[in-house]
Amino acid sequence: MIRLVLRDVRLAVRAGGGFGLGLAFFLIVTVLVPFGVGPEGAVLTRIAPGILWVGALLACLLSLDRMFALDWEDGSLDLLATAPVPLEGVVAAKALAHWLTTGLPLVVAAPLFGLLLNLSGPGYVWLVVSLALGTPALSVIGAFGAALTVGLKRGGLLLSLLVLPLYVPTLIFGAEAVRRGAEGLSVETPLLMLAGITAGTLAVLPFAAAAALRVNLR
């Protein structure tokens, strides 16, 4: 399984692998919003937590449809399914690789983007913490959606529609944690909820995704 993670990360950083796609998208969102909303610092400070989280979420969404589709097209998904690796493990490894190449760079780069949106001082820490807690859930939920739509031509649209509602709780609690953190309030409740969602999806969705893959491979 570690091999699979390493392979996927390696594929992502090679030419045409899509590494940086999410990051670039995140950058575009955070650069464009101040132009659209206007340069008024107070307004930006107010909307920064929400925009940052929405941007991170959409950036994650962008690379989801490649997760299983590429392996499906070149036949390696069939071969992985017959290999001595449980399909649940394959899903977990692919979700982890997706997080390492999409979620983690977002977490690391987020403070910089927070600066562009005039996020207030104490918010930076909670932005990083909430993204670190929340983005794994985005990758795992995305893996489930990708497993459901694998093999469909142009499954990306369906994938987005399936996955977006499942992303809503993570978005709400993630943005709420940053907002409270930025205003100096207690962030305990939204962070706990966020961690709970992540832990729950990590525990359940690899099995659901593997079941979906088995049906789709028939």
């Binding site: 594929l11 070149d74 390696s76 399914a81 017959t82 001595p84 491979l217 028939r218």
Partner: protein
Amino acid sequence: MELRVRDLACARGGVPVLEGVSFTLSSGEALVLRGPNGSGKTTLLRTLAGLQPPLAGEVSMPAEALAYGAHADGLKATLTVEENLSFWAGVYGTRDIATALAAFDLEDLRERAAQNLSAGQKRRLGLARLLVTGRPVWALDEPTVSLDTASVALFADAVRAHLKKGGAAIIATHIDLGLDARVLDIGGFRAKQREAGAFDEAFL
């Protein structure tokens, strides 16, 4: 090691294509599947590989004995020959890729990215994967597509060596590999039309 198939029936896309397929395959034997296009060779192999459940009948063999070689080679275009092969070696928990590279004459291409290989070279890399799986039963779907005669001979040698080591192979092919193999014509097992199952059958 023995692969025993009894009264197997399988479907493709919800339509039954084969029924009553029975054969046994023991160590050192090769079985060649023949049959016209659409007769269900791929479906049979996928069922044996466990990618789809049989409609009826049973397949018995030791756990984790089968290595499946599909139409597609499962190669990653941006990885080199060596990286592709060592990935699969790692997945199957084996280390030695040198033998596999040598068997399919891929040593000079080691550092070449898979996207820069010719169709035949890709196929040879796909077949080399079988050697690194270390599994006794090979189930191969049209393994010689896009191979030239020299490469077909390499492949036949690899199969022969595999059989000699106590392995077995079941190969769907149309050309004569020069193997001492039994031939199973699956044209004779075509499934009769039966009433369609419930609409949600594919999901249950």
